[in-house]
């Protein structure tokens, strides 16, 4: 880990998070920002491997930074660090390309553990988020209505299976046991689900924009 973006407006929390990140990634260089504006400037200047973004900021939402990162630095892992645990707040961030989320009030050890797992490609997935993802893909526009240049994103049967089980309240390790899959395989499915959610959401947004006449081709 070379460059890590830390976007957080509360100084105490920011310094606390900074300590935590240092603990998990001792070699990383941490770029701090307290506002969306500053963070976007950093995004255009520095190449990041990891970004921790708060959602509610004085000059906007961290979702914009997540989206900007997803567009300009696809290999960067964006993680939402927030006080909101409800999917109304989390889902847009995941659609924008966030790779997972951390709840700020959790104990330092827990956050450190989750952060480490995410950086190793094991993002968390809650039942309510899983339900939203299922709903999202179910409501996707029909392929025949989709313009040629729009990628058609669909989940595989296995990914669907994992999503359905998560939605029913099974934990990822339990699903691994049920489906006789390794922990890493399950994590890969979840990663794929997040990625596809992002791609599909971007396609949907583009389609929506086109429908509204924002694009001229």
């Amino acid at each position: 880990m070379n460059n890590i973006l830390l976007l957080e407006d509360l100084p105490e929390i920011r310094s606390w998070l900074k300590v935590l990140i240092k603990q998990v990634f001792p070699d990383a260089q941490i770029h701090e920002a307290a506002r969306v504006h500053d963070a976007l400037e950093l995004v255009s200047a520095v190449k990041f491997q990891l970004a921790l973004c708060d959602l509610g900021l004085p000059d906007g939402s961290g979702v914009d930074v997540v989206a900007a990162l997803g567009k300009s630095q696809p290999e960067c892992q964006s993680v939402v660090v927030t006080i909101h645990d409800d999917d109304d707040h989390l889902f847009p961030a995941l659609q924008a390309g966030a790779f997972g989320y951390l709840l700020k009030e959790q104990a330092r050890e827990l956050i450190a553990e989750q952060l480490k797992r995410m950086s190793q490609g094991e993002p968390p997935l809650s039942p309510s988020i899983a339900r939203r993802v299922i709903k999202h893909f179910a409501s996707q526009t029909q392929p025949q209505e989709r313009p040629q240049n729009m990628p058609h994103v669909a989940l595989t049967d296995r990914e669907n299976e994992v999503l359905l089980r998560v939605a029913k309240g099974f934990t990822l390790p339990e699903i691994g046991v049920q489906l006789n899959l390794s922990r890493h395989t399950i994590a890969d499915y979840v990663k794929q689900i997040y990625r596809k959610l992002n791609v599909s959401s971007r396609a949907e947004a583009a389609l929506e924009a086109q429908r509204l006449g924002l694009f001229r081709r």
Binding site: I83, D85, D86, P127, E174
Partner: protein, 621 residues
């Protein structure tokens, strides 16, 4: 429907005409008893009124009936008639005898053997108008001799030229002398038809007219009602000339007034016919008004001596006007396919026919029927029209009433709908405002309180304070969720609880065994119910992790139509009893019970040292 109505109306009119025909007095004299003496020849002499008659040089034999218009044209004044007679055969001195004079116009005085025995009224102007009154004069027994009786009659009359109708011209009918009992019925019959029936008709028309005028006043839109009302009233008043004997003014004045009154009556008739067909013409109205002035003007201009001449010019004109208006009315109603075309056609044609016949009579081209046909039949037809009008009016009124009721019902319905919509809108608005306010409060809580609590969580030196602040933050989040959340599918709630519980127990190395009904239920859980149950479950799991020392935890869910049950059982060391025999309050049991009670549910805790703990939560759905 249309044909049936027309047929009924026609049948009705036919029946009326037949009834009139049946009631006509028998004109032939053949019905007279042989003992009645008919005097159809007399000597006549012209005198000035009041001067005793001397039947000398100017004596003229005449046959009765003597129509002055024929025998003495333009004569104006008094004529004496004299005839001699013997006691009719078959009668004796004990019989009450009488002389019956069917018509003596305008007035008559009767003398028997030189004695005046009867006077019909004033013999000088204004002369009593007895033209329509038949006279039955009893002959005093003391004056009546078996043979050589002399009856003298002084008739005061007017020339045809000075009166408005032929019936008012001077004249004398034949005389009938016989027993009073034999003559009385004929007199009564004629009196009824000539006078009483006309009086009745006048009364009926006047009343009818007033009613229609009243209706017309109340319904200004239906002008034909008022027109017909005034027409009826005028006709009724004009009919008075037949039975009103003692007028306040000279015959010349009265005849002028009566004749002039025909103009407004014709105007009203035309207006009625037009307005009933929904027609209106300024031009016709002006012409009628002009006529109203023109008729009296021409009458005045030519003077009383040519009243009949001028009137007989106007009358055909009047009849033509009425006939034209009738035709116009019928053509329009026929074109509009109006339901009452046929009844109205029958009635109107009958009226025009009768009036035309009256015109012919006035000209002297037809035998006088000895009956005021116009004065009787026309009122009857008027009553027919009025019935028709009232029927139409009543139907319109009923239709309007029905329409009004329908409208009222509709208005009520719409009002109710509007009220309901308004209530719904208001409710929606309240909901929206509430929702917005909740979101604002939630946002504030997160941004302010949440941030501060978070700072405490991560900066506090004391682990206890961090834990408390973390718990407070969790509480706050749940509260916000309860504040803003929508009802949740029970199956989704169970999934969320399962994921959290299994994860937490797993992290604490406690084996979790969660079983819930496999089949998906569509039942909903209110946001508050979800939040409170989450708290209870979270508290229970925290207790197990912190205090029980259990290695295994069983969670069972049951869902029925009205109830939802959750049982959490561990194999730990149980909750220690307090001195009073109750379970330790420090384990949050009371707050769990309190939360359950808030949702009208209950939370039972069973525990004993060494037996583990069972928490049974039941909530209504």
């Amino acid at each position: 429907m249309f044909n049936r109505l027309a047929f009924i109306a026609a049948a009705h009119a036919a029946a009326v005409l037949m009834w009139i025909a049946a009631m006509l007095p028998v004109a032939a004299h053949a019905a007279d008893a042989p003992s009645v003496l008919v005097i159809d020849k007399a000597l006549s002499v012209v005198t000035a009124p009041g001067i005793p008659a001397s039947f000398t040089s100017t004596t003229l034999p005449v046959s009765l009936p003597d129509d002055w218009a024929e025998t003495r044209p333009r004569f104006e004044g008094s004529v004496w008639y004299r005839a001699g007679f013997d006691r009719p055969p078959g009668t004796d001195a004990h019989d009450l005898m009488a002389v019956y004079i069917e018509r003596a116009c305008s007035n008559v005085e009767v003398y028997l053997n030189g004695q005046r025995i009867f006077s019909g009224g004033r013999m000088s102007e204004p002369v009593t108008r007895n033209c329509h009154y038949p006279q039955l004069v009893t002959l005093p027994g003391v004056l009546l001799q078996d043979q050589g009786n002399l009856i003298e009659l002084q008739v005061q009359g007017h020339s045809l030229q000075r009166v408005a109708s032929r019936q008012r011209a001077g004249g004398m009918s034949e005389l009938k002398i016989g027993p009073q009992a034999l003559l009385a019925p004929e007199h009564a019959r004629r009196l009824f038809w000539n006078v009483t029936a006309v009086e009745l008709a006048s009364l009926v028309l006047a009343v009818l007219g007033c009613v229609m005028i009243g209706l017309g006043l109340m319904n200004r839109g239906e002008t034909y009602l008022a027109h017909f009302g005034w027409l009826s009233l005028t006709w009724g008043l004009l009919s008075a000339r037949l039975w009103w004997r003692d007028m306040p003014w000279d015959t010349g004045v009265m005849e002028f007034l009566f004749c002039s009154a025909f103009a407004p009556m014709v105007a009203l008739t035309v207006l009625f016919l037009l307005s009933y067909a929904d027609l209106r013409s300024r031009w016709i109205e002006n012409a009628l008004a002009a006529q109203w002035v023109l008729v009296p003007a021409t009458l005045l201009l030519v003077g009383p001596g040519r009243l009949f001449f001028v009137a007989s010019i106007w009358y055909p004109l009047f009849v033509l006007e009425v006939a034209a208006a009738t035709v116009l009315h019928l053509v329009v109603t026929w074109r509009r396919k109006r339901q009452d075309f046929w009844p109205m056609a029958v009635l109107l044609v009958a009226i025009v026919g009768i009036v035309a016949y009256e015109l012919v009579r006035q000209r002297g081209w037809a035998d006088t029927l000895d009956l005021p046909l116009t004065q009787l039949a026309v009122p009857l037809l008027f009553v027919g029209i009025a019935t028709r009008l009232l029927q139409v009016f009543a139907r319109t009124l009923r239709a309007a009433e029905d329409g009004r009721e329908t409208l009222e019902a509709r208005v009520q319905q719409i009002t109710a709908e509007i009220e309901q919509n308004f209530a719904q809108l208001a409710e929606l608005r309240v909901e929206q405002v509430t929702e917005k306010e909740r979101k604002r409060i939630a946002g504030d809580l997160h941004d302010d309180l949440g941030a501060k609590l978070l700072t405490i969580v991560h900066t506090s030196e004391s682990e206890r304070i961090s834990t408390l602040a973390r718990e407070a933050l969790e509480e706050m989040r749940l509260s916000v969720r309860g504040l803003t959340g929508k009802p949740m599918r029970l199956a989704d709630a169970l999934a969320d609880w399962r994921a959290e519980t299994v994860l937490r127990l797993g992290q604490a190395n406690i084996e979790a065994d969660w079983r819930s009904p496999a089949d998906e239920t569509e039942q909903l859980l209110p946001a508050r119910g979800f939040v409170q149950t989450t708290r209870i479950l979270r508290e229970a799991v925290s207790n197990i992790i912190k205090h029980s020392g259990a290695s295994h935890c069983k969670v069972r869910c049951t869902i029925s139509d009205r109830q939802f049950g959750l049982t959490v059982q561990d194999n730990g060391k149980g909750i220690p009893m307090e001195l009073d025999g109750k379970l330790d309050r420090g384990h949050g049991m009371s707050s769990m019970k309190h939360r359950a009670k808030q949702m009208q549910g209950q939370c039972l805790v069973e525990s004993g040292p060494g037996y583990g703990t069972v928490i049974r939560l039941t909530l209504p759905l």
